[in-house]
Point group: C2
Chain length 340, copies 2
């Protein structure tokens, strides 16, 4: 069955090219892999694979290099998932178990991921919209100045200041606090916002208190502030130094994308759908400036839908290993968030 061998050839080429960073020729292939055929046969297969668009030749008389389509086939059908070793699992556990708060979890995850994959790692902070409200605290800094603290289930904390027109007595403050908490605590953030809205919309006599109104307004604003959904953390840019060649084509656009967090967020966002690890290769998708880089990402948190994490690297990368690392870290992070 020569069709089968062709796929074996493609797999071998991807593996060799990833390992050596050099176009791979027919002779080298038969030497390194036991294909039991002659170089000439391989050449025929290569030519066929090139016709079908899986391989590319930088120039006549050079070896072959996988195309995006080639990598795609490799990832989808040819790569055996590399299971994480117990050593890796132990490393992940010991690295992440020491985290004390949400910031710390994100911080450690991103650094860990960068270290494991030797690529640029990206972790998105848990999005507001999927969080529930754990507690709302109202503190009087002065009689007319309140501090609102909004504590979410993910461990995230938002704070806002509110200026009042008139003094607020202690018992009024306590009443306000408990009413707000009653309405919001335990709710999904969107539901909490509307519940709070109801709190002031009901005309409760003529003394609809200005303080309540101001507090609710500030809270709703904080809850619907999706600006903070857009926060991500990046690590491992030093790994870019490994591709000293192809600076212009690879490193520069990547650095720019890392600054333009919007692009990264979109890329990560696409990965949140479905439970599995998503791989975007080269020019797939609308971001032509990242045509020579791939994104390996997945969701994490409950239903893998809280937020995303992953890595960005050259299309020429060790997909099986990277996918395994991303998946392992995502699972562990999900577990930690679940526990806390």
């Amino acid at each position: 069955m020569q069709e089968e061998r062709r796929l074996a050839v493609l797999r071998a080429i991807v593996e060799d090219y990833v390992a050596t960073e050099e176009p791979v020729g027919s002779k080298a292939l038969v030497e390194r892999h036991s294909l039991n055929v002659s170089p000439a046969t391989i050449r025929n297969d290569m030519a066929a694979l090139e016709d079908e668009g899986y391989l590319h030749q930088p120039h006549t008389s050079a070896g072959r290099v996988p195309t995006d389509k080639g990598y795609r086939l490799f990832v989808d059908r040819l790569s055996t998932v590399k299971p994480t070793t117990t050593a890796e699992r132990r490393a992940i556990a010991s690295f992440l178990d020491g985290a004390v708060d949400l910031d710390d979890v994100v911080h450690r995850s991103v650094r860990l991921l960068a270290q494991l994959t030797r690529q640029v790692a990206v972790v998105q902070y848990p999005t507001l919209s999927r969080s529930t409200v754990r507690h709302v605290e109202v503190v009087a800094l002065t009689p007319t100045r309140l501090l609102l603290v909004l504590i979410l289930s993910t461990g995230r904390v938002e704070q806002r200041h509110v200026e009042l027109d008139a003094d607020l007595a202690d018992d009024e403050l306590a009443a306000l606090r408990s009413r707000v908490n009653l309405a919001a605590t335990g709710e999904l953030i969107g539901d909490a916002a509307s519940a709070l809205g109801d709190l002031v919309r009901v005309p409760e006599g003529e003394d609809a208190p200005a303080a309540t109104r101001a507090v609710v307004e500030a809270l709703v604003e904080a809850m619907s502030d999706h600006r903070s959904d857009e926060r991500i953390m990046v690590a491992g840019t030093a790994n870019l130094a490994r591709f000293g060649d192809s600076f212009e084509t690879s490193v520069r656009p990547l650095l720019e994308a890392l600054e333009e967090q919007v692009i990264l967020l979109k890329l990560l966002g696409e990965a949140t759908t479905g439970g599995a690890v998503t791989v975007r290769i080269g020019a797939e998708g609308p971001y032509q400036e990242l045509s020579s880089t791939s994104v390996v990402a997945t969701g994490y948190g409950p239903d893998d839908a809280l937020a995303s994490l992953g890595i960005v690297g050259p299309t020429r990368m060790d997909y099986p290993g990277t996918m395994a690392a991303v998946r392992a870290v995502a699972r562990y992070v999900s577990r930690i968030l679940d526990e806390s």
Copy 2:
């Protein structure tokens, strides 16, 4: 006075070299600057400056390039401080005024700084040790599980979990909360920690409550957790793409330093002393791996001692402009922190 002219020559060389990125020769110098002498004279001056260690010749028959020592002299004595334009000031104001919380201030500052200087910008989060406690919140997640939220004057929030051995009644919780706040609120963080310590050290009968002890312990631990002093934020790495040449010598070590935040923190730390903008040039200081980069930084916050911000870039940079930008941003950030 030929000594004076020599300094003018040095200044001109620094300016030209920064602008053109190429070694500058005697002929080009007299053309671009009105020095009113012949190239031969300049050559003599250059030779003298080279003997004194201010200039360097890549090879015979090439132009001159400033040495670290040359830049140092330029920065200390030859550069006229470039005042920020009103346009720049407006840009700073409009960019930073929208910030809603501490994270946001830091975020915006670092991006602004990167944009203004076209270098890699670094901002250190306000250090714990100079902050005062604004409020401590104790929330019962379950009867035996408490969430502590520590809010500092800078807007920073720390949180910790505490597990209790026995249930805690609501009124006990309220009492605990008010005692803790009484001791800590308004105090410098160090003082707050010791005041809290006193709270449990006094043997108040036999029922020295385990809950109090656990809470205080966690708070003191959070307050003395200098790990979080080490947080910094980086932006503008895309600006590294501008030196496409000298990748190995310039970009790689810089990327590594940016990952190794410890080094950055030390560099920034040195800049916190004294009110003015500090410039570290090339191999000055103990970090030989950053021998071709300079650091321009200054403190910010009250007394400029709260934390530091600045930029990292090649020794060949526009010092006057960069120093002005760093100073302007630091001042504005200080003002914002002061107001909030």
